[in-house]
Structures are given as C-alpha cells and as structure tokens.
Symmetry: C2
C-alpha cells in the first residue's frame, strides 16, 4: 500500500472517513460539523484541509478503491478496537495512525466529530476487520438518574414503596391454580392496605394522603410483581373505593371509605353487563325507587343483563352497582348504588346470585364473576348521590339537568381508573423490555467464521429495530401518563370532558402499544421468552385484556374522535352537530395550506430530529383527518343519511382521528416536559428518545403522509433510515434506558435477565 | 314531494341510484354495467334513459337536494327491507315503486346490476331509514361445498378422521396442571397411534400409507382439539419418526419405524441447544467415534450446550440426537444419532440428565425438557447414516462431499415439519376466526335510538375490516400450504433447497399471520374472548411459539432472502457470491422499467381486482427489493467491508426480501389453484377472496409502492377503499367462509360461537 499517499496529520481522520463513507452517513448538517472541525484543526496544513474537504463532497464522493485502501490501512494496523474507551473511535483512529507514523496525539476536534455525529462503536465495529474488545453497554448515562428525572415529584415515596416490596409476600412464583393464586393476591392486597398504600388517593380524614398521582405510581409498580395484584388492588381501592369517593356524599365517605382503604370492607364495581359490554348507557339492571319504604329495588331483568367480569366478585361484601334509576316511573339514567352482597359469614344474601367467571387467559389471581339481582331491596341512602338524589318527598333532583351531561359527569369521575389501566399496560411493556434488552445484552447468536465469539443479539440491526423504538415510546408514554394523571387529579370542576377525551385516546393507544411490545419481547427472547419463569408470558396474558376493559379500545377511539370533532364544546346530538361541523370546516381550512415542496423534500438531520417538524407533521395529519371526517359526515347528512348511520359509515376514519389525536397529544406533552429540563446530557438523551419515537410514529403513518404529498418519497425513505440509525445510536444506552424505568432489581427475577 | 318528477319506470331505479350516489360507489367499469342495463331495459322510454344516463355522469353528479329527495321517497314508502330475499335491493326497489305507482313488476336488469356491482344488504341497510328484517348471514354459498373444493384429494379420509375425533377422549376441557395435561395428551396420542393415524406418512411396510399430505391435514385437525396434542403428535411421528424415516437406513426403519408409529417406542428430537437456538450448525454436542469399540460417545461439553425445549423429553425411551460427528479427530459436521434415554422401568440411563422445562406460556400438555449427556456410549449402528456413515475400517464416507451441502441436505428432510408448523398456526387462525365470526353474527352492541335492536357486531365496518381480510388470507394460505406439502412430498431428489427456501419464508409469514389474527380475534370478542372456555386464549398461547420453533422467523426470512439472492444456484460463500450479485443485477435491471403513469393511476375496479395486477405489483416489489439488496451488499463489499458484515448491514432489507418472496409465491400458487377450478359461483367467490387478500397485502406495503412511484396517491387510496368495500361485500358470506374451513361442529365448543 502506498502510505505516502496520506500525510501523517490526515491518518487519524481515515477511520472516521471510512465509517462515514462506507455507510453513506452524512446529511448536510452533518457535513457542516465535520467541515467546521477540519477548519479549526491546527494539526492540519492547508493541503490536508483541501484533501479532507474534497472527501466531503457528496456530489463527488471518494472512489470505492480509495475507500477500500482506507479499510486495508485500518485492517493492516492490527489495532484492537476497545469499545469501553471514552471516545472509542478517536482512540482507535489515533492508535491506527500511530502504527504508521507514531506522532499522533489525542485530537479534541475528532472527539467533537464523534460526539456530534452520534457515531457509536456498534455502528462501525462490524465495518473494520479488526479485533474488538466489546463493551456490552455504555455507562455514559446512569439509570438511577434517569429514573429520578422521570419520577421527580414522588421519588422519595416511590423509593420507600420499592423497598417495602422486598418482603417475601411479594415474591413471584408460578401458580396455575386459580384458587391458590387468588388467596395469595388477597393476602398481598391486605398487606398493602395495612400499610396505608391502598388509601393513598383518599382524603386524609379517611387514612389517605389525597394523592392520586402517587397512587397511580404505586399501582404501576404492582404490575412488576403480578398483574392480578395490580388489578385486584385497583378494583378494591380505585374502582369500588373510587366510586364511593367520587360519586358518594360525605355520609358515604364517613361510613365506608376508611374501611375500604383498610380492606375491612371488600367491594366490587358492578358496571359491565353480559349483553351490553361497551354500551354503559344501555345497561338493563334497574334500581326502582319505592317511596313508602324509602328503598331501591335492584333487579336484573333479562338473561343477558347480569353483571359480568366483576373483579373481586367472590371476595366482596358489597358492590357498587350501576343501574337505571327509576323514580316515579321515570328513568333518570344510570346511577351507582351500594348493594350488600354477603353477610358476615360470607354467605351470599337473598336474591343475589354470584358465579365465578372461571379460568381466563390471564389475571387468574383476580376473582372475576357474574352477578344477578332478583328484586334486591336496599335503603335509598345507599344511592351514591353526589350528582343525583331522591329527596324526602320522593322526587329526583340533580344540579345537572341534562341527563346526557349527568351521565358523562358521573363517568368522568372514573377517568382515573382508565389512566391506571394505561399505566399498568405501560408497566408491563417496561418490564418486558427490561427482560428482553438485558437478555439481548448477554445472549450470543451465530458468528463470523473469523470471530471467536458469536455476536450479541442486540448487535443485530433487526433486533435493535425491534426493541429500541419501543423503549423510546415507553419513555414518551411514561411522561404523558404522569401528565394526564396530574391534569386529572388537579381538575376539580365537574366538567371533565376534555381530560376524558384525552384519556380515552391515550388508553387505547398505550394498551395496544403494550400488547404489541410484549409480543415483540416474547419473540425477541425466542424459546426462553416462552418459559413462564421469564415473566414475559404472564405479562402478555395479564395485560391482554387491557385493550378491552375500562372501555374497549375501538369504542374509546371513537369517543376521542367525537370529542375532537365537537371541539369539546357541543353535546353530541345530531341536531347541533351539523353546525359544529361547518364551524370546524371553516376553522381548519385556512390552516391546511398546501405543503411547500421544499418542506416535503427536506431530509436534513437537523430538520428530521427537530420536535417542531414532528409536531407539525402530526398536527397536520390530525387536522386533515378531522377535516375530511367532518366533510364526509356532512356529505352523508346532506344526502339525507341519518346521523347515526353517517357516523357508522366513517367509522374506520374516526378511529384514525382518535389515534392521530392521541399521537399529537403525546409528543406535545412529552416535548413540553423536556423543555423544562435543565440543559445537559440527559436532556439530549431524552430529545433523541423523543425523535426516535416521533419518527417511528410518522413512519407508521407514512402511507397517509405520502398520499397527501406531505412527505416526498425521498423524505419518507430518509425517515426510515433515521429510525434505523437512531436505534443504532441509542443501542449502547439501551441498558441505561431500561434501568431508567426504575424497576427495582429484586423484582427483575427472570433468569434470562440476570 | 313532487312525485311527478319521476316517471313510473324510473321509480324502481331510485333506490339503486340512492345507494350508488350516497356512497360514491362507482368506478368506470361499474358505470358501464349500469349503462348497459339501462340500455337494454325495454320498460324505459328514451326520456327515462336520458334521465338515468344523466345521473351516471361522474363529472356532473346529481345534486344533494335530488339525492335527499330520493331518500325521502324511499323512507315515506314505509316499505320493509327484507334481507333474505334472493335479490333484496331489487325486491325492495320494486315494492317502493309499487307504493307510488302500483304497476311495477320484477326487473331482470336491475337484478343484474345488483349482482354485478356486488351490492349487499349490509351495504345499504344503514342508508335507508326504514324497517329492516335482518338476515344475519346469507345461504348463497355452502360451507361444506367450499370445504370439498379446498380439501379435494383427501376429503374422504379427512372426513373419516373428523368422525373419529368424536370420541370422548378428545373432549376439550380446561386443565391448568401440566402433569395432568400431559397425561391426557399422551393417552390421546396413543389412541391415534392405535388407529393408524400416526404412521400415515410412513411406508406401507411399517403400518403407514406413504401419505405425507394427508398426515399434514390430520396434524392440522389436531390443532382444533388442542395445540399440545398436535405438537406431541408431531414430535413423536413427524420429528422423531421422521428423522428415522428420512435420515436412517433400512435397518433403522426395520428396527424402529413400526414401533414408533404404534407408540411402542416413544422418542424425542434433540436438536436445539440452550446456547445455540437458531444456529444448528454451531451446536456443541459431540458424537465421537471410537473405532475399537465401534461406538459413538455422545457428550455435552459446556454449561449452555445442553439440549433445550425437547418435546416428549420426559416420556421418551429414545432420542434422535443431533451432534457434531468426530471421526478420527475430524469434525464431519452435524449428524443424528439414536440414543436410548431410559430403560424399561422408565429410569433415566447412566450419564444422561433430563430436566423438565417447567411451565410455559402454552403447550403445557407437552413435556418439554433439557437433556445433558455425559460421555454416553452408543453403538455406531445408531448413527442415522443415510447421508453419511462410518465404514468397517472406521472411515467416514458420504456421497455428498461438500459438508455445507450435506448439512443442508439433512436439514432439508425436515422441511415437512416446518410445513406442519405453518399448517398448525393456520389451523389456530381458522379456529379463532370461526369463533370470532360466529360470535359477531350473534352479538349486538349499541343502537340507533330509532331502532329497537342493537346492531350485530359484524355490521360495524371496523369489525368487518378486522376479521374479513384475515378470513381471506387464511384461504390463500390454506391453498398455499396444501401445494407446498404436495411439492415437498413429491420431491424425491436430495436437493430440496428450492422447497426449503419457499417453506422458510412461508412458515415465517404464516405463523406471524396467525399470531396477529388470533390476537385480533381475542380483541374482537372482547371480554368473552378472554375466557378460556371460548378457546381463543389457548390458541393464542399455544401458537405463540410457532414463530420461534422449527426455525425462528427472523432467521428463516434471511434464509429465504439468501435463497432468492443466490437464485438457488450458488453456495452461499463469500467468494462466489459477488459474481452472483453481478449476474442478478444484470438480469433484473431490464425488467425494472419505469412504471407508466397511466398504470400507477389506474383505479378502476376491473384493474384493481385483476390477479394480473396483484401478481405484477408483488413481483415488481420482490425484484426491486432483491435488486437493491444486491446492489447494497455489492457496494459494501466494494468498499472492503467483509461479506458477513455486509449482509448484517442490510439485515432489515433482507427480511423484506424474504417477506416479499413469500407473498409473491402465495398468490401465484393461489391463483394457479383457482385457474383449475370449474367456472361458477365458487370460483367467483374464491377470486373475490384472492382480491381481498392481495389488495390487503399491497395496502400493507403501500409506503414502499408510493415511495417507488409504483402507486399514485389516488390509486393507493382506491386500494384502501376497495379493501373496505370487499370486506363489506363478503360480510354476508362470512358465515359460509368460516364453515368452509371445515372445522367439525363438535369441535367448535366455544359457548360464544354456539
């Protein structure tokens, strides 16, 4: 090889240029980074600078023969690549140069290039034909510090709780018998209650701390132990206790809330009916008022009108029963009534039938059951009457005159449960990703015939692409759910429709994300992922129903879409709707100017990583989808199609609106959170995470963006490449990122993760 | 309303035009259908024809006010829509017309329009504001006839088997204890063996019928009963017995095959190792030949080199062990050796350790275990030596000199198992779809305030879109797997690389399809889908591992891609590869002419439903992807990147090649099958099914097609609309289509499907 070709000062640049050109890595802003460094590098003379400058010309790139010579120069040096160096490529390049000229010292400007281009060892260790001393992961970031950033307001409390979970009672084991599983879960719930964790969201007067946000984080942590535990806990304290807390009056609180928080009163939440899963407004159970007895008669009229999938049904002494309240022969809509189910001996009371739902795909530690009521009489005082009551004369009264609005107000108080479900699903994803990533950092598979060691799973591009974007999305959703819970907890007005719309969409997107993620993790762990001991199986089965319960996702997305369409202002009845559509149409049309071709062709890194681009793209999509949905509905209505049918006609379109809405909301909240962080490496990391999430989402909807001309072909391809590249750039930090989820080490029991 | 506006002859056309225009249904070829009918209709005078013709002008469509008047005319007639009529729209239109003029008789030309446009009651019953007498599904097609078409060659045998399965032994029940589940499954396998079903693929001399194709159909049916049963059956007769049959000599057959088929000899197939899941060539177990003892010593060298996930490990008397065969100190590559595991008292033999794998996500009726060998000696006669043997002088000999080729030849004999796995996964999808569709034809949800009855789940567009394309794809894959098994069974040459490449890709695509489909079915059944009694849970958990075992899907797709790249001709070593790439590049480039804009904009129904379009699109994609992959690899190699690394760099690209290859193959085989069918309504149905499948696949890859300019925005949107419309058109036949899967009624035990 003709070494005289290259000056001694140029030599340390050679490995950098090899990496750059063998992978076509450079965009315009990246070329600028390199150019600036070269300009400032005093070790280079003008000739050198001219040479290096010429190698940066994308219109006239170095010849393959030249690049091949670089590769041979590197290979022939016999230098070992040590991934654990602070700046591994700069250190490697220096050693390669010194092999040939022995005059090269550390170069700050090369370090700068390495840092700014985000070049990682796993990016190039495959390109060189040299010995590599691998570092399975980088310790540049610290998981505990990330955890502290993500859980800031309640970190101390959460850490106390994490330590609390070290008790033997919470040890995980395989239990396939449902009776035994239920016994264990009940004892765990009781232990949590005895230590005040159940009542956390209740007022201080009833043993709580008035802290719904912290309650939600506690709930999330229970998922790391066992899905059944989280759900049983949520039913007892969140749904049953929550209905008393949110729908009842002070007398209900005084009578029941403390006992509920202490599990001295076990209760269930009897809303869903067999025949009317998602249609709560259409439930058939009745609560008929009998004035002379001051009583309500609870009754299941038809064979499919029984309560169904009621968690805690077998252990409960009492149920919060949702029924159509009939007063003086008039149906006042759905209300909740406390109905005793069992006596002190735990015998079911007269007129009530409870049946076990039997084995389920998951959550077998939760006692789900069906409940029938046959003319069961309870005192009228048992009506949870915050939003509607029966006065002493036997007349119904409510501050909310519109029955529709009343119904949604009552349901709005249950939004907290929906956030918890999403948090639980996300916790399942975090756990599964932790197991899958830690496994992929140990497990080796196949090898180059030249290498002694097989490659780590996480060094495969397909494996990175499988897992790392999902880690990024988990970060975004974590921040989003913290924010949602804060919004919900701090909203003291009756009108919770905005947060309800927001949570409806988020719950759907996040629970689907969980199903997809845990599945991906199972497959990424191969056969080991199939063994129950590695936990992914249980997480998969337990969270699977999260897409259905607390509101079926398909139904929730339509709810979200209708919320967007009505702009949170109008009641959703057909009459007022057409005018709302017209309004929307006018309002949006001016914002949907044609996209500038220069914009739809812009593929530079700075642009593609910019949160403004992400927000613009997703917001554009949301507005366009909303606009076209509104137009289509209006079109049908104008042709005489009844409004119910018109909505049905655009149902698939509405689902897209609901998803788009949640996606915009997610990155909006996430980037707001980042903006408030102090400058520094963690902020940078979270920005990268945000970019990977956002570009993955845009990529997922690329068909739409291409169809609309929002993205050119080139830009669409550039986005795909950036998703792959960001996954590679974050790969060395994958370990820190899953540690940042804050799952206590003693709960990560999967043998393959240890 | 001014009824004089419309002549009596025009009246029966009004409901048709209302349906057409309220939904913007017409493409050019559809307008032709209507135009022709109008032209031929003698009941219309010239004035009428002119009027109707004007209403067909897409550039000047009827005004909304006009359309609204049609709607009111229909509504005011008070006519009931009876979905069960032979031509419901024509009958309805006639009755509407007769309400106003009482002079209208049956019109053959309107029937023709109804038929040719594929207008179905569920298409328009939402548009009219009239009473509807619903027909949950149509009886136009008969499931049994479809089944007969799909399973033609072996229908009689299969029907015998279906009846055989009526025995109590095969009754399904929930069994969460693995020991009890295993006991049950073993007794079922023995019963099958006793009746000759296990030996079906073996030669007649050993109790079989030499019928691998029928064996595969039997295997598929076992999935309807229990996933564990199918797998246990497959391990015993297919893997263990298959290894003796395919890798052994006559003396092995004579000694073991009959006993295996009768379950007098239970065996397992010990290939996979803990540390080397997908890397069979890299397994570490050794079989060292000791000449003076004419013995082989089987040994597990390291702590992760044990055999793992071995099905039947706890029940087996013998194992077919894959190990590196060492003869005279030279490694001859992977060979299979029969190793006795237990004595007559079922005690594990000396030097052998077997451990239960414990509870798994699914398949708990299969006794998977780990096996260690500590210097276990067996006679050299136990070497399955069809492709490589040790002669009496202690020298190794084989007809296949190239060790690479020998390895792939041996593995090639196992392709049958891979087809069965795909068949099993597909059977799981069929069962889940049957349950979900039958449920969706009974379950009602929500309603229009004007209607008494809530709508059937399957009448929701989102629900149709969820399930019906997956029914279509199941049909395609059924035909494809029948064909693959036929190809495999009839291929008597040693060189099975072509079918191996084909099956590698198909197995990956079909098992992923199953995971996605069963998940969708679970969600589509809501909470009911979560109860084990409804079977979807078990199907989900049992088939989940199918994407991993018998070859991890990610690895298999790369295998398929490499097969495509090497055009089945070249060995995959780096040396010969570059020239193959060059060849490919030359060969493909001329076929990748730019797509004509008129073609990429063509959105007519006839074009979009045409198999030629589907084949052209997918084939174009495959060629382009292959071409660019080849170019990229060549680019890296030219820059000096070693070939192993170059392949790694394009790994995500290769997965796309593998998928594209399987998709082309699938529709090619499917349409070939249809071509051979007699003309008639079933052929038409299967063509519609093929179109829905193909358009769904093209839609799934629409980003790519748009990026390449193969599809214009308009065409891409038109394809989406056609997928939705075809789902709606097939909705009345969904019941017949799932009946066509041929799952015996007595096996569809899910309460929600009955």
């Amino acid at each position: 090889m003709d070494l005289n070709k290259y000056s001694n000062s140029i030599l340390p640049y050679i490995p950098f240029f090899y990496v750059i050109w063998s992978d076509d890595l450079l965009s315009a802003s990246e070329i600028e980074v390199v150019k600036t460094a070269i300009k400032e590098d005093d070790s280079l003379n003008n000739e050198d600078k001219k040479q290096l400058g010429a190698w940066l010309d994308k219109s006239n790139p170095p010849q393959n023969e030249e690049i091949k010579q670089w590769q041979q120069l590197i290979t022939n040096s016999g230098v070992t690549l040590i991934e654990s160096e602070a700046f591994p490529l700069e250190a490697f390049a220096r050693k390669v140069a010194n092999f040939y000229c022995n005059s090269c010292s550390s170069n700050e400007l090369l370090k700068q290039i390495e840092l700014n281009l985000g070049i990682q060892p796993n990016h190039y260790n495959h390109l060189f034909n040299v010995e590599v001393i691998q570092q399975p992961f980088s310790d540049f970031y610290n998981g505990a510090e990330i955890d502290a950033i993500l859980n800031k307001p309640f970190l101390k409390k959460i850490n106390t709780f994490r330590t609390f979970l070290k008790q033997d009672t919470f040890n995980w084991n395989i239990e396939t018998n449902k009776e035994k599983a239920r016994e264990k879960v009940l004892s765990q719930v009781k232990l949590l209650a005895a230590n005040g964790w159940g009542a956390l969201a209740y007022p201080k007067a009833y043993g709580g701390e008035d802290n719904m946000e912290c309650y939600a984080s506690i709930f999330e942590h229970l998922m790391f132990i066992d899905g059944s535990l989280a759900i049983k806990f949520g039913v007892q304290f969140g749904l049953f206790g929550g209905s008393i807390h949110n729908l009842g009056s002070k007398r209900h609180h005084d009578q029941y809330l403390k006992a509920t928080g202490e599990t001295n009163l076990l209760g269930c939440f009897a809303m869903t009916e067999t025949g009317h899963g998602s249609n709560v407004r259409g439930i058939k159970t009745t609560a008929t008022y009998i004035h002379n007895e001051k009583a309500l008669v609870i009754h299941t009229p038809g064979k499919n009108d029984n309560k169904e999938y009621i968690g805690n049904a077998l252990d409960s002494k009492m149920a919060s029963v949702f029924a159509q309240l009939i007063v003086n022969g008039k149906n006042r809509g759905v209300h909740a009534i406390l109905v005793p189910l069992r006596n002190d001996k735990h015998e079911v009371l007269e007129g009530i039938t409870v049946k076990d739902n039997g084995y389920k795909l998951g959550l077998n530690g939760v006692d789900n059951g069906k409940i029938w009521f046959n003319q069961v009489k309870v005192p009228v005082a048992n009506l949870l009457d915050k939003y509607g009551r029966i006065d002493s004369d036997g007349n119904y009264e409510s501050e909310i005159k519109n029955p529709n609005k009343r119904f949604f107000t009552m349901l709005g108080t249950l939004v907290g449960g929906r956030i918890c479900v999403a948090k639980g699903a996300l916790a399942g994803s975090k756990m599964a990703l932790t197991v899958a990533i830690k496994h992929a950092l140990q497990r080796r598979q196949f090898n180059d015939s030249l290498k002694v060691q097989e490659d780590l799973l996480l060094d495969y591009p397909t494996h990175q692409l499988r897992l790392i974007p999902k880690v990024a999305t988990s970060y975004v959703y974590h921040v989003v759910l913290q924010k949602a819970m804060k919004e919900y907890a701090q909203n003291t007005s009756n009108d919770k429709r905005k947060i309800e719309t927001q949570v409806a969409g988020l719950k759907a997107c996040i629970t689907w994300f969980a199903t997809e993620t845990i599945q991906e993790c199972r497959e990424a762990c191969g056969g080991k992922g199939y063994l129950l001991e590695n936990r992914i199986g249980d997480l998969k089965n337990d969270t699977d129903i999260f897409t259905t319960f607390e509101g079926d996702n398909t139904v929730l997305l339509q709810l979200a879409a209708k919320g967007v369409l009505s702009d949170f202002k109008s009641e959703l009845n057909a009459g007022g709707f057409v005018s709302v559509l017209k309004l929307l149409r006018d309002r949006f049309s001016d914002k949907l100017a044609t996209i500038n071709p220069a914009y739809s062709n812009k593929t530079d890194k700075d642009h593609l990583y910019n949160p403004k681009f992400h927000l613009h793209a997703m917001d554009y999509r949301l507005r366009r989808l909303t606009d076209t949905a509104a137009m289509r509905i209006r079109g049908y209505i104008k042709k005489g199609v009844p409004s119910y049918q018109a909505f049905l006609k655009v149902q698939t379109h509405l689902l897209e609106v609901g998803k788009a809405y949640s996606e915009v909301l997610s990155i909006k909240w996430y980037y707001e959170f980042i903006t408030d962080l102090p400058e520094g490496k963690y902020k940078n990391l979270l920005l990268q995470v945000g970019a990977l999430h956002s570009l993955s989402i845009i990529r997922k909807d690329a068909v739409w963006y291409l169809e609309q001309g929002y993205l050119s072909s080139t830009k669409s391809k550039a986005i795909r490449q950036r998703v792959e590249r960001l996954s590679t750039e974050l790969r060395p930090h994958a370990h820190a990122l899953v540690e940042g989820f804050g799952i206590p080490e003693h709960l990560v029991t999967a043998p393959i993760a240890n």
